[in-house]
């Protein structure tokens, strides 16, 4: 079963290529386009878990929820601020971006981890020393992996195992 197609999108402005001919880390962005079967499975899962998730989330936690729109949240904030200003009270806003403040993934460390994992599975390759960046090496080994099929006409990679 095909889980998805991995497209390597390259920036139009910076089409810089390394000496090995593979795209560099800075200009490449991988995007996975899921297959129809996977989309169907995702839809079924979504339908089953939506009610449970909404029931267990707080009322104040908005975003992609029914009846909790961006407009409503803006109105709430505005009303609170105006109300406190009218009563001659100061307002202190504590704003925190969880994704950045708590869960910032170091990409270099992640690539290093993948690289080590792939290298442990594969035999030593004499060409490996020619690569400058770890990403180039990673892409090279992904393309060589046995569960990956490359279609020459389109620059896509068909993944035959779970993504």
């Amino acid at each position: 079963m095909i889980c998805g197609r991995l497209y390597l999108l390259q920036s139009e402005k910076k089409k810089l290529k390394s000496t090995t001919g593979l795209p560099s880390k800075k200009t490449t962005r991988p995007i996975t386009v899921s297959s129809v079967i996977q989309k169907l499975l995702e839809k079924i899962l979504l339908k089953r878990i939506t009610d449970l998730v909404i029931r267990n989330t707080e009322v104040e936690n908005a975003g992609f929820k029914p009846y909790m729109s961006c407009e409503l949240q803006l109105q709430r904030m505005k009303m609170f601020l105006l109300n406190s200003l009218k009563k001659d009270k100061p307002t202190y806003i504590v704003s925190c971006d969880i994704k950045s403040a708590y869960d910032n993934v170091n990409q270099n460390l992640l690539f290093k981890h993948f690289q080590e994992k792939i290298l442990s599975d594969m035999d030593e390759d004499p060409d490996r020393e020619n690569f400058r960046e770890s990403t180039e090496m990673l892409l090279y080994y992904i393309l060589k992996a046995p569960n990956v099929k490359i279609y020459e006409r389109n620059p896509t990679i068909h993944l035959t195992k779970g993504v």
């Binding site: 601020l81 100061p90 307002t91 504590v94 704003s95 403040a101």
Partner: protein, 151 residues
């Protein structure tokens, strides 16, 4: 989002146990973006300490740069803000003059002839734009085109 939900729950429980009413605090979460509004600096200080404690509990790194505290005053911006906020909070959070929440920059309001001339203009414009988008979505639904997510 799960973390944001956990934070909202913790802040609500603490505020209610301290006897704060709906007029004293506001919890506003949008996906993974968490925002709280307080009318008392001590409550804000407690929340920041709580955020830090949760980060330790969940074994997550906490970045000071991404957590902001913005003070908004009914009349004039006090020059001695640092003395009011306290040294302990400054070590945990970035004390800023403005924060961007839901695409709007919220900062100290300006007053002209006793009336507030401030973010409300920006907020009104944003709400207007959102209404336009919602109208477009309704039209799409009329043609039986459905979108998975709502704004």
């Amino acid at each position: 989002m799960a973390y944001a939900n956990k934070f909202a729950k913790a802040v609500k429980e603490i505020s209610e146990s301290r006897g704060l009413s709906r007029e004293d605090y506001l919890v506003m979460n949008w996906a993974d973006d968490v925002n709280y509004m307080f009318t008392n600096i001590e409550d804000a200080e407690r929340t920041i300490t709580l955020l830090k404690e949760i980060a330790v509990e969940l074994k997550l790194p906490f970045s000071k740069a991404k957590c902001k505290l913005v003070g908004m005053y009914p009349k004039k911006y006090p020059q001695r803000l640092k003395q009011k906020i306290g040294v302990e909070v400054e070590e945990l959070v970035t004390v800023s003059k403005e924060a961007k929440i839901l695409g709007i920059t919220w900062s100290q309001p300006r007053f002209q002839q006793g009336k507030i001339q401030m973010f409300s203009k920006d907020a009104d414009e944003t709400i207007k734009k959102i209404k336009e988008v919602q109208l477009k979505m309704k039209r799409l639904k009329m043609f039986k085109c459905f979108l998975d997510r709502t704004t």
